[in-house]
């Protein structure tokens, strides 16, 4: 563990969140609270609802019941609350989702200028700062298609950081990458964690979970099955489903 966040205030809280896709119950009474500076790793089999869960936090998905609060702002579906929350929550996607018609630098300056009203000069300064931090400043004038997957994902991280979010959500950030590029992205994320960023990561990188997570949460069939510190989670999982999952996933590493 990098820090003990036990005395920090709660940044995100989910209470009894329910999500349905038609007849499919995607999230079943999810309750979760994340303190400032905490790093959470969410894992579980595909279709278990882990991506849906983090996508609900920044309102990319709507919820049917329950309550989501981010930094005191209740997510009530109003434009105002959605805007307020998205300003504070950054997200990194599995498929990067960089804007292909813009350079790396433009990808990073767009949101600060449009959302925060930052001047062009300041937005560029900010972008260069975060591109430097993910060690990709030398590619600033290139277009996403000219970069490798690992580089694109680091740009996506920088783009999210340019909004200076209080929380970063990672939705399987290394799943679409070639194996040799996973490390550069994980290293960037570890760096972020060291700097005290609050993070919720959906990932199957158990090495990353061991090294960085304060808590590992295991989900299956839309429920939180088990949640524990990584030490305990990996050494002595309580539930059979967790054991099965860990057996499967660790066999590949």
């Amino acid at each position: 563990m990098l820090n003990s966040a036990n005395h920090q205030p709660t940044l995100i809280s989910l209470e009894d969140v329910q999500k349905w896709y038609g007849a499919f119950h995607a999230l079943k009474s999810i309750s979760l609270s994340v303190r400032k500076g905490e790093k959470i790793v969410l894992c579980g089999p595909s279709g278990s609802g882990k991506s849906t869960l983090i996508r609900c936090i920044n309102a990319l998905e709507t919820i049917e019941d329950g309550k989501i609060v981010v930094e005191g702002q209740v997510l009530d579906g109003s434009t105002k609350s959605v805007d307020a929350i998205r300003r504070e929550v950054g997200m990194v996607f599995q498929s990067f989702n960089l804007f292909p018609h813009m350079t790396v630098l433009q990808n990073c300056t767009l949101a600060p200028m449009r959302v925060r009203g930052t001047s062009h000069t300041d937005a560029e300064r900010l972008a260069r700062k975060y591109l430097e931090r993910v060690r990709i400043l030398d590619q600033a004038e290139k277009y996403p298609a000219q970069l490798s997957g690992g580089q694109q994902q680091r740009v996506a991280i920088a783009r999210a950081l340019c909004m200076e979010p209080k929380v970063m959500l990672f939705d399987e950030p290394t799943s679409a990458l070639d194996p040799e590029m996973v490390k550069e992205v994980l290293d960037t994320m570890i760096g972020l964690a060291r700097d005290g960023m609050t993070m919720i990561c959906v990932t199957h990188e158990m090495g990353f979970a061991r090294q960085v997570a304060d808590r590992v949460i295991f989900m299956a069939s839309g429920e939180i099955v088990e949640e524990a510190e990584p030490e305990i989670f990996f050494k002595s999982p309580k539930h059979q489903r967790t054991k099965t999952f860990l057996g499967e996933i660790l066999a590949h590493h």
């Binding site: 990319l60 805007d83 996607f93 989702n97 960089l98 804007f99 292909p100 767009l110 949101a111 999210a160």
Partner: protein
Amino acid sequence: MGPIGENEFFFLMQGLKWTVLLAIVGFIGGGIFGILIALLRTSKTKVARTITAGYIGVFQGTPLLMQLFVVYYGVALLGIEVNAWIAVAIAFTLHASAFLGEIWRGSIEAVPKGQTEAANALGLHYVSRMKDVILPQALKISMPATIGFLVQLIKGTSLAAIVGFIELTRAGQIISNQTYRPLLVFGIVGAIYFIICWPLSHAGSGLEKRMAKAAR
């Protein structure tokens, strides 16, 4: 049979001028309203989607010739005195906006969903999301189809003759009637259309090939 001399050729060029102007006006007017149609067609509001779907359906499902008639006489019925030029410009704008709107609707929907999600996650609002992220990509996707429609529109301007508009085809008809050389005259008229349309078609298919390559 009369000769086809400088005067006749000049008359055809006069017609060509109107053909080109009409196509440009139709394309620009249709482009402006077409974007609006495309945006409404892809909006969250069901009413807007239904109304624009109906609008597109009507203009795609009826002959352009009939649309020209309806606008030309319809405007007159409203008691507004308009010349053929205005009426035809309105008709072509309406016609083009329906077709371009539908082409661009498809292109907007062809932009990967992840782009909208990324823009949303960054907190970008509708206007910026569309203007900065979605439309530039959609417009690029739509280029071959858009150019294809422009070619159709240029040829479609010949129908404006029906309400007394002397564009290229009508000019050809008049010359043909004067000189009794229909084959020669319409051969020239056809060649003029071809010289304008073929490079456009060619550019369109070139774009399509380049994009297919880039997508691989």
